[in-house]
Symmetry: D3
Subunit: 290 residues, 6 copies
């Protein structure tokens, strides 16, 4: 019986009790206020933690156990409801601090816009940064119905900051014609519909570079991830996404941070999406963290 | 067969085809970006319209048919996702216009903050305005975790504008101690837990005054309205809420506008809350509109 | 603000406001009264329209935008509850009129029996008609428990009318032994289990012919379409179904009308099936309409 | 272990194995093809049986055990999908036979139209029949959108047959103005909104008469019966409905048959409505059967 | 930002960080392996904690804030899946320790059998113990289908231990005839159907005595608590249950421990039952703890 | 009309009425008390029976009809809630009797631990028994949190009894490192991630041997089987599982018994998993029974 310390039941399974000794920090970014369709990804991080209790701590894919990586679940960043700009500022400041203290950031969304301040912070530290982006959607808009802060814009903002040529998108199957054209004209890499095969082709060219990987859970087919804001038929399977994570793990790319976003538990009636997300996070951590 | 006009299937049942000839305008305010707990009320107006098809057009309570009131369903105000201030400005401008053109505004939320700009507009036209507020929550905060624009604040904003003595809250069973104390110290009327009996006592004193009625669906017990953002046990029944609407209808109060807010369809698995809301709107319209 | 016209919120996204100027007409056939298992497809068309708001208006598969096709959403045909024969008569008359006025009919079910009167009408105009049928079920019964009007019979009725040799079924994985035998004996084409590969083989032989395509959403695996009346494991993926639609689009077949049937929202808890259906309709329209 | 007889797992709990020795017959009427709103009551009888396993076999209200009544669950009448007229004919013939053999009929719907052929059969045997009808809806239409066979019509048909003065409706809170007027003009008894108190007043006048009781589960408030086709706020509680059943049990009325209709499991996500229905049936049987 | 300590997100809102300084200990007993009907109450404590974030920390009923009581959420007792006897032993040992250290135990179930070892421990410390039991069910069986360890037996076990005359049950509406008879013959107090009124009569006779209060959430009507293992129509409202808690709070009874059991989140689709449970726990704590 | 025999509505479709004349016996093992994560598989057999009504009785894969096999659905074994050891003893005794009487056992779980007593009984009759095991999980633990009777242990128990070399596991993607190592060291066959291809390689070596096949439904990807206790992303499709069943059917293996376990209806919101399970059982029976 443990009466000598505060209860900490809802952490990602196997989380190390001490921040200082940990190399990886898992954190939630519970923001969904700019989504144009179905909200609810604010509850994503909490749900992923909750179902992580069902995970085995060993990966038979990577032959590695979670005890081999010291990670600390720092909880959710307390973002102010409905204030997008202040939320983004808080996230950026948070990541700045993590990077300053030498931690590997592993974020859980929340809507995809949360990746934008993380990328800003990463870029300050890694001027040679490349981004691997797996998603159903281009996310290349400059604004959505007049709002420049929208979940449809993060990759465009990132492209404007680090250069479109340093962004590699995979699995894209939805977007405006203008977005696809802009990407093409600006030398951004977009692999339509597929992830694994084009990834295999791209990875060698990224050898040795620092890479931030951002995964929107809706890159999966709705069959594999019904619990997300904007489902879109024709996606990849969870088997393919796992293989893609392992492909990166086995490459010479230097992953320096990553996130998994857009899990929306209220549309995830059998907890299928959250369970899948928790397994993906295990594989991301075991495959990409030193 | 009707090939000669655009299909308009999802309007509140019985909506008049012509705005100009209508005395009442029904409109949706699909905003939920400042809610601190469960989002989704952005889909409330659409769902209420959809299930309104199950309504009979006659009220045996009031012995009146919907054909006796000309109302026009104007659809949802196209609010910008995630931008609270701009959304509120758009609502206020919208209501200004409605009032200018002599319409009776009947709004559907959306989170409760949407009532704030409506009240501002109403007050410009009716300086003697009183507010009848039915809700589980005080909504008297000045800010929520640093945000002055929050769904916990609309009644406080209204009280600051038109004077706390002109606000009559009913059914309140949740709030901070400070909120209850502020109300007491400032002469605002709060009927805790109950609606019908205290309403009967208050109505005579409001005789002849212009009154705006704002109903948060969570004044109902969760048994009667599970589909809302913040459920709170110990509420009233739908029977009591109907009787309260009829009590106002039979009083000498002059209702000059009203709203029903916080229906959140994603937590309303059997459409129970939306069906109830559509019936409440029918009774509000038949009971309160000339 | 749009006060000058009736609200028409729930139309298929991008619907043209004018019937006369449109080349394609989208319509719902909200009938489910003869289904032997799980009802509810009567709500299919409404739900598909509702979620169509989440669609991008551009297809990266076909590099075509919805603005390039003029289509008019005519709403649901007001079918009489529980009267199968009268419902079928109304549908046939409706399609007769559409064809007479030169429109391309794109129907949304409703149970599969609704395709039968559509095919009757098509055949009157196109005596050389062939049918491409994608489905989990043969639908070749002559009656179901004594009822000749049943959702298990439409393809048999079509075969009896236009000749079994002009029917091409794909993806079939369920039916009575007698149905499969009848098909074989009568020269009807049935591709069991698969769609894309057998379709590639068949299409050249249909070159130039007028073809009506009827898709039962249950041709998809239940993982991809849980929200339908009769799910049946072992189906195809939405990726394969999209590819099949594109295969037809890129062939020399002349599609003269089409439908998508059996979406049942009450079994579609995360709106996954309806979302998929709305995307399929976009691809059918962009791929098959001139 | 019981290998010597066919498994009969899904019967109403405590059903007697032998038809001939039983005084009461429970049967399902799985028909929902004329409902104008939400279908699914075809699955009502099966679901009520399934959850009846959770019932105690003793009623502390009536101090009686189910073993004191011999009842036989005869399963569902195999009604033909989508054929309303033939379904009604089969039900009437079925009840004729039950009555001929001296059984007390206790039916489970299915939509409310199924009560119509039962009442026809009862009236043949009991020319002095009165009907107690508990429902949210008048069900007094002569047709619905042109269809004379509709779930909105059974009480009107019954009134036309046995005389409106012999019909006593309770709890009615929805209907067309014309229906209420017709009832009034023709001397039919309608107690609006309430059940228990008006029932207490009516029962003495029915003393000794043969009475058929038909209960539409939607007489309950949606809070108590979300799983039904047409929910309508402002209804009674399950406590009041139980008390009403007991009131009849303790009166001098001679109940000669009864039914409980409109349980629709697909809208009953926690099986609440079906559980309540199974308890109501226990109380109806223990209270009304000799 | 809080990087210096382990994240403890899922505790009952407002939990004190230090066990030693706390007077009340909240703990979960996540056991459901002996339930005869619907399992899942093992997840009750976690869900109640999760939704407690929606609670206001002030009770307008009792005019008291949660900050006035120091309570420590100790998490769930790690009970061994499927081993009832060992689970009960662990709970008893756990409570022994809590009582030894002068804590007020406030337990969350789990199935009702968990109350049995708690009562055993309480009785060791308080030989004059009385029990107030609110429940739909008698729970007076000696065994269930041969198993003496069953969720149908805890109150019988308690009666055998502390004497049936010291047990006061309220709201009972389900049980075997034998159970009611045993209670009567042995002088146990059972108030059928009602809670508040009989409680008012009983409380004076318990004045000054140490009392353990055990509440089965199914004492509420299914409308108010659909998310539980065995729902039973005809129960009380959450308003009445709240009033009953307050009645005890305002009496001279000395509550020395309490629990709330049988919340089953998988049947609680809109989190209604868990939200109600979290409010009940707040009121129990603010009303009953010194 | 069938008044002459007890109603037996909820049997697996097409079940033969007579045990003695049947060669196959289908039975349920409704036990879930040792599961460590999500319970509810106790309701699996009942739900599979219920939805089996939607099955066609012909397999177009095997060109065989269910009428060609005489099978008797014997219902559920009445296992005592919460007593694992006694439950396992009852199952073993049950299977002993079935085998003694020459029946082919086809079991439906329940949790996977139920396979353990079946295998014990099979091994007594077939000392040369081999086991084909399809599952996401190794199930090779010796205990779970101190409990030797756990749903994580059945395959280890079987391996200890019949020898690890006689166990062939397929589709495994989850387990502790120690489990995989133990399997390797002891010559047990584990095919990670895949089923069909490794099965093709293994089957020739099992030619002529008596084989018991145990399928945990979670070998399917969560997209194909959301309704199970422990979902795990990256699984196979239902198409692949069907093909694997047919591969065994077409081999020279002598299947002498089989089961399908871990269907948990409360997480199966559209009945998708249960429908798939009922089809798998049809194919297992038609493919494997003489």
């Amino acid at each position: 019986m443990r009466f000598d310390e505060a209860y900490s039941g809802n952490v990602f399974i196997g989380s190390h009790p001490n921040y200082d000794e940990s190399q990886v920090v898992i954190y939630g970014m519970p923001m969904d206020w700019t989504v144009s369709y179905r909200p609810g990804s604010r509850f994503g991080p909490g749900q992923i933690r909750k179902v992580s209790i069902g995970l085995e701590e060993y990966s038979p894919y990577l032959d590695r156990e979670m005890s081999e990586v010291k990670y600390f679940d720092a909880g959710d960043i307390p973002l102010p409801f409905g204030n997008a700009q202040r939320s983004l500022d808080m996230i950026e400041e948070y990541i700045d601090k993590l990077l300053e203290e030498g931690k590997f950031p592993l974020g859980m969304g929340g809507e995809h816009l949360v990746s934008w301040p993380v990328i800003k912070a990463m870029y300050k530290k890694y001027p040679n940064l490349a981004i691997i982006h797996m998603d159903a959607h281009t996310d290349l808009r400059t604004e959505y119905e007049g709002e420049p802060l929208s979940h449809s814009t993060p990759i465009r903002k990132a492209a404007d900051l680090i250069g479109p040529k340093n962004i590699y998108s995979f699995g894209i199957r939805s977007g405006m014609k203008e977005e696809f054209e802009w990407a093409k004209e600006n030398g951004m890499h977009i692999a339509k519909f597929e992830v694994l095969e084009p990834l295999k082709k791209v990875l060698p060219s990224l050898s040795g570079r620092p890479v931030y990987v951002t995964i929107d859970i809706d890159v999966l087919d709705p069959a594999h991830a019904p619990g997300t804001g904007t489902v879109d038929a024709g996606g990849i399977t969870s088997k393919e996404l796992l293989a893609s994570i392992h492909e990166i793990a086995n490459s010479d790319v230097q992953v320096v941070g990553c996130d998994l976003v857009e899990v929306a538990p209220i549309y995830d009636h059998s907890e299928q999406t959250a369970n899948t997300a928790s397994k993906l996070i295990r594989e991301m951590m075991l495959g990409w963290c030193p």
